[in-house]
Amino acid sequence: MRALKPVDSYDPPRNATRPSKLLAWAIAAIGLALAANAHSYPERPIKIIVPTNAGGEVDTLVRIFQRAFQENDLLPVKTVVVNMPGAGGTLGTRKIKDSRADGYTIGVWTPGIVTSKAMGIAKYDHSSFEIIGRTGYSDLGFGVNSDSKFNSIQELIEQSKANPKSLQVATNIGLPVHLIPLMFAESAGTDFKFIQIGGGSKRLSSILGGHTDMAMFSLLAFIQYKDAGIKPLVVLSEQRTSLFPDVPTAKEIGVDLVMQDTRIWLAPKGTPPERIELIATALRTAMELPEVKKEFKTLGIHTTFGDAAELQPFLDNMLERVTPLVAKARGR
């Protein structure tokens, strides 16, 4: 009936303006909301870029934090893990570096951030990021097959000095697992033969099968795979570890090398410091949670949070020592 009224013939244009008016209001409202909340960070999910596959070691660690954040409301927003594996982690780290420095994209990586630069496969190092901090660290050591003819690191070094490049080290060329033993050899005044074996499981298999003589593992691996048949000869920590009280540190045998494996949380350069602090606080709090502590223990990680000030000199030092050695690494 209404359609017959002449007045209604004006309705269509009025109707047409209505949605657009609504839209304008909506836009204004969103704009206001944005302005009002400009300082309240975070208000949308935070992306965590992980430069490995789902299920990798770094990925597992990040997901422990993701779970802790969520279950304890440590961050007001959700976190999203984005896996970007490939090219020794540089695909992922480059994405972190090139993301907007607004605190909504962060990432996690290892000291590989330094070794990639040293190897020349990335043009940037840790100084191109804001460092949020380090979520614990794990001790490292060099180990051999339990049936190996080497019973101490001194024996191994002596034989290697007598016969340079005779000792075969299983590595993944260009990554810390290659460059740290390289630094060790340099300090010990000897030369190892580095063999490209591949990822952690292949290195382990290679040592267990006696194809190569030595490889670097985390202390956790030495505990886990003790029965499978590997033993540590030297640890790279400051002091001896209570887990293997008989195993000397590198320092004790006169090799100046203290190294840990760390998980470094990075943000793009220029991310506001208060946003970094907010994430760092969440990480710090998460690491104090009993369930996280327990999980870190199974992963063999010390639950001490390290901030940027602590991490910076460690990475600087590593880059400085590794770079001149790379010419060598490239040679062989």
């Binding site: 299920g55 496969i121 292949k202």
Partner: protein, 501 residues
């Protein structure tokens, strides 16, 4: 007794429910080209945090078993492998389906999958520890010669022009070259494009060559070609027991190969089906029928890739070494549930280990039941107008390429290799050798270079190391045999030609 208890556990309602959910969802994603078990499992892991740890692992394992098997559905019906490991199934499954026997093609694949799963499950239950320690005997030279042997076997897969097959394989080999070179840690052939730093990854290349090229082909023919498949009337979906008997040797052989390749870290399920397919063809009485919808081809490929899944569980459970990326996700999930696989697991968490192993067997049975009962229904897919299927598959294909690495580059790789695959196919270059060249080149190069690093550049270990030496000898023997076979069939053909004249 522990085994019986574990079976009782795996068959009780709750664990059974999780296995069922896992297997069904696994089959579903496995059947969709682009989506795979890895993606499904990675997405599911966070959801399992609040679950009982055994239930969670059974759910994830069900997904794994389901997705490996689901791939054969689209491989058979659409010539698009749903998962990389179903690649070899396209060679015989699709032609058989096109001949009007999609139900039979499916059921052969499903049955072979079950047998493969069971054989590897038996190895898992009975021989896990000794097998995984024997796997350590494999160093770079053993890997290299084993893959070399595979390559020789696979050379016989080539159909039609040998020259075109070799050319396709060489192109595939080239596609594997760019990216970070493991052996010296340097970038190679990236031409300064940072997106190329990791080269072309397996999943996007496979999706491009097999799926995208088929999509292009189908899309171009959509109005020209109607429903061409005529279903045979009264087709029996599941072959009689007698019919399986003739495949016994093939199934056992392919399952053992699949299990063994699964145990070795870092080789992958697609290689296990390539190798068993090649061996099945070499030993077959009718090698010329392979690639035309031959039963033996489907059986070899499908029993091997399912056996591979069980094989990969062996080092995972006994030492804590993941045999494949999917197993790394399983390992990650176990760690999150505070289970550390390894030699100690048997002692600290015995019941869990047993329920895992029996759960694997039960998952295979569940997979079989679900797939066999849906085969009749699924087989009708071949009669659906492709116009309805192509857009869906196309979308999933691109999503699937993007997913694992979250990079647009991988999407471009799918499209690029799709176009390449389409033109190769038009020019009658076989696509199988292309992908085989691509897959094997990477692993052969890195293993050979590792071996040479160890031997200071000498090739002698290929002969002097016992295992490597036997592989080398077998490879040479196979090569000689296939040349002889080729020569014999040629002379036979030419004499037949003469008699016709």
């Amino acid at each position: 007794m522990e085994i019986l208890n574990a079976f009782q556990y795996a068959l009780s309602p709750y664990p059974m429910l999780w296995i069922l959910i896992g297997v069904a969802s696994g089959i579903f994603v496995g059947a969709i080209p682009g989506l795979g078990g890895g993606m499904l499992m990675a997405l599911t892991v966070p959801l399992t945090f609040s679950m009982d740890s055994t239930h969670a692992i059974l759910l994830l394992m069900g997904m794994h078993v389901g997705s490996v098997s689901g791939g054969l559905i689209s491989a058979t019906l659409l010539k698009m492998p749903g998962t990389p490991s179903a690649m070899m199934t396209t060679l015989d499954g699709y032609p058989m389906a096109q001949k009007g026997q999609p139900g039979k093609a499916l059921s052969l694949g499903i049955g072979a999958s079950l047998f493969g799963g069971i054989v590897s499950g038996i190895f898992l239950l009975a021989l896990a520890p000794p097998l995984s320690s024997f796997a350590h005997k494999f160093g770079p030279w053993e890997y290299f010669t084993m893959v070399l042997m595979a390559l020789v076997l696979i050379a016989s897969i080539t159909q039609g022009s040998m020259l075109k097959g070799l050319m396709a394989a060489t192109l595939g080999l080239l596609a594997a070259m760019p990216g970070l070179n493991e052996s010296d840690g340097q970038l190679r052939l990236t031409y300064g494009f940072e997106a190329m730093d990791d080269g072309f990854n397996l999943l996007p290349v496979l999706l491009g060559i097999f799926v995208m090229s088929q999509i292009i082909k189908d899309a171009l023919q959509i109005n020209k070609k109607g429903v061409s498949v005529v279903m045979k009337k009264g087709e029996r979906i599941f072959p009689k027991f007698q019919e399986w008997k003739k495949h016994t040797v093939n199934i056992l052989r392919s399952s053992c190969i699949g299990t063994w390749v699964g145990i070795l870290p870092g080789i992958g399920a697609s290689i296990s089906s390539m190798v068993s397919y090649g061996i099945a063809k070499t030993f077959s009485k009718t090698p010329e029928k392979f690639g035309t919808g031959h039963e033996e081809g489907i059986v070899a490929a499908e029993s091997a890739n399912n056996a591979n899944a069980g094989g990969a569980l062996i080092p995972l459970i006994t030492i804590g070494i993941p045999g494949a990326p999917v197993d790394a996700i399983l390992l990650g999930a176990m760690i999150m549930h505070q289970i550390q696989p390894g030699p100690l697991l048997f002692e600290t968490n015995g019941p869990l280990v047993w329920s895992l192993m029996t759960g694997y067997l039960v998952a295979n049975l569940v997979m079989f039941l679900i797939m066999v009962f849906s085969a009749r229904f699924l087989a009708k897919v071949v009669t659906i107008n492709r116009a309805y299927l192509i857009p869906i598959v196309f979308a999933f294909c691109l999503i699937g390429a993007y997913g694992p690495s979250n990079r647009m580059f991988d999407v471009w790789v799918v499209l690029g290799f799709g176009v390449l695959g389409y033109f190769l196919d038009r020019a009658k270059f076989p696509l199988g050798p292309f992908v085989i060249g691509y897959v094997l080149a990477g692993i052969m190069e890195s293993e050979l270079r590792s071996g040479l690093q160890m031997s200071e550049g000498s090739f002698a270990p290929m002969i002097t190391r016992p295992i490597a030496g036997s592989f080398t000898v077998i490879a040479i023997a196979f090569l000689a045999y296939s040349i002889y076979q080729e020569w014999r069939s040629r002379t036979r053909v030419s004499s037949e030609d003469l008699s016709i004249d």
